[in-house]
């Protein structure tokens, strides 16, 4: 490993003076952000220390059942958050859970099959976390788009229903747009990888002393898995959710 892969407590303390710079700016410019800055830094310290210890404990557990259980809790939390973005979508929590789980299971299975990662908590949990949170953000975007489109394009859907179309052909354009909306941020960020910013994972690996060439391999894997997860999750969620805008008699609610 390169020198500087570990960071000492004293270095961290000196680095914390950077917070003081931010506070000074706020104070002299009367931005009124001092209190919030202190609270946010305090929270960051407490949360990260806790997460550090929790992860240390989790990574020590070699039991795959434990790892799987944790993945399910993460999926549930993500589903709960995504469902809040689509409050007019009935059974939003269940739909989100199924969609995120589908994206996670398929993506993780392929990664495991390829040998890129192993079913070890120190690999599965961080990678699972990235996949799940990415899917959660994508679903939030999908739901917002679905809800607004079903409101704004009511006329289009009713016109198609009146012509004798089933609910899928009547709303396929809305579905396509919603899936696209869910996927676009991931596609856009893939486009600018390495040009606009070095992605977090790559930066972390390089800081930890891994050669950039190796770090790139991991980053590419992350990019592939993000693309597949958002596609699977957005597609599943939109196809399950659009039905909830209609009743049994195929009328727009």
């Amino acid at each position: 490993m390169n020198p500087g892969t570990t960071i000492s407590i004293s270095s961290l303390l000196i680095a914390s003076s950077l917070v003081a710079i931010s506070l000074l700016f706020s104070y002299y410019q009367k931005l009124g952000l001092e209190k919030e800055t202190i609270i946010s830094v305090g929270r960051a310290i407490i949360q990260l220390v806790l997460v550090g210890y929790i992860l240390e404990y989790i990574f020590g557990q070699k039991n795959p059942v434990f790892t799987t259980g944790l993945l399910m809790i993460m999926t549930f939390n993500a589903a709960y958050n995504a469902a809040k973005r689509g409050q007019n979508i009935k059974r939003g929590l269940l739909i989100s859970f199924v969609a995120i789980a589908a994206g996670t299971i398929i993506t993780l299975s392929i990664l495991l099959f390829s040998g890129a990662i192993h079913y070890e908590p120190f690999q599965i949990i961080p990678i699972g976390g990235m996949i799940i949170s990415n899917a959660m953000v994508a679903l939030g975007l999908c739901y917002r788009r679905l809800s607004t489109d079903f409101m704004d394009k009511r006329e289009e859907v009713e016109t198609k229903l009146a012509l004798g179309a089933d609910i899928l052909p009547a709303s396929i354009e809305i579905l396509k747009d919603s899936i696209r909306t869910g996927m676009l941020p991931t596609i856009d960020s893939a486009k600018t990888l390495g040009i606009v910013a070095l992605p977090g994972m790559m930066t972390g690996l390089i800081l930890a002393g891994v050669s950039p060439i190796m770090a790139i391999r991991y980053q590419l894997m992350v990019t592939f898995m993000m693309l597949s997860t958002t596609a699977i999750a957005s597609f599943t969620a939109c196809f399950l959710a659009y039905r909830t805008f209609f009743n049994q008699r195929k009328q727009l609610i």
Partner: protein, 218 residues
């Protein structure tokens, strides 16, 4: 037996009561005009008839059977509805005509499309035109043709001549009358008193969600 019958139908949305105990019988071959001020519930009656809405009270029968017992898709293909503001989707006019075929898993019958276009005074070349480039009157006629491609049994029309000039209004009225003469049952909503009496055999006037008068014209 009536072809279509509303039995004490009421309809209420989240905000207000729109229709109150409407009873109405439509016989096969009827040409019924529905008139009334804005907000009197005319469009709602049409939407209930093609099952885009369900009554909150009462029943609607088609050929003696509650319309809830029909497959909604099949029903809407037999009882076709053309809305007041013509909504054209897709990119070109052709997209609008191919849609009814697509949902029936058929290839577009261009000969049929061309016949209808010329009957409604539209050039065949309009098929390739972009939807946004059309005038209000063209949109209205295209929406009407789109509804007529598969000869429905009942045609529900909601002020389909509101954006047309005098000549085209007359042409559309005559075409609709011809359809009626060949057996299609027509229920049409109009604002114009003159238009409502021209071809119809029954004139119904609505006020505040109730049928005010029923006049047999022919």
């Amino acid at each position: 037996m009536s072809l279509l019958e509303m039995q004490k139908v009421s309809y209420q949305n989240e905000k207000k009561l729109i229709l109150q105990e409407i009873s109405l019988k439509v016989a096969a071959g009827d040409f019924i005009s529905l008139v009334g001020p804005s907000g009197s519930g005319k469009s709602t009656i049409l939407k209930l008839c093609c099952h885009l809405l369900s009554p909150t009270q009462g029943k609607i029968l088609f050929k003696g059977k509650d319309i809830k017992q029909y497959n909604p898709l099949d029903l809407r293909r037999r009882i076709a509805y053309c809305a007041q503001t013509p909504y054209l989707f897709g990119e070109t006019v052709e997209d609008n005509f191919s849609f009814p075929y697509l949902i029936r898993k058929q290839k577009i019958d261009l000969a049929r499309v061309q016949t209808l276009l010329s009957r409604f005074n539209l050039d065949g070349k309009i098929l390739k035109n972009r939807v946004q480039s059309l005038s209000g009157g063209e949109k209205q006629r295209i929406a009407l043709i789109r509804t007529l491609l598969f000869k429905p049994e009942i045609l529900l029309l909601d002020e389909v001549t509101s954006a047309l000039d005098v000549a085209n209004t007359e042409l559309v009225e005559k075409e609709i009358y011809t359809l009626n003469q060949t057996g299609m049952t027509i229920l049409w909503v109009t604002h114009s008193p003159e238009q409502s009496r021209k071809y119809a055999n029954i004139l119904l006037s609505l006020e505040q969600g109730k049928i005010k008068t029923r006049e047999v014209l022919k």
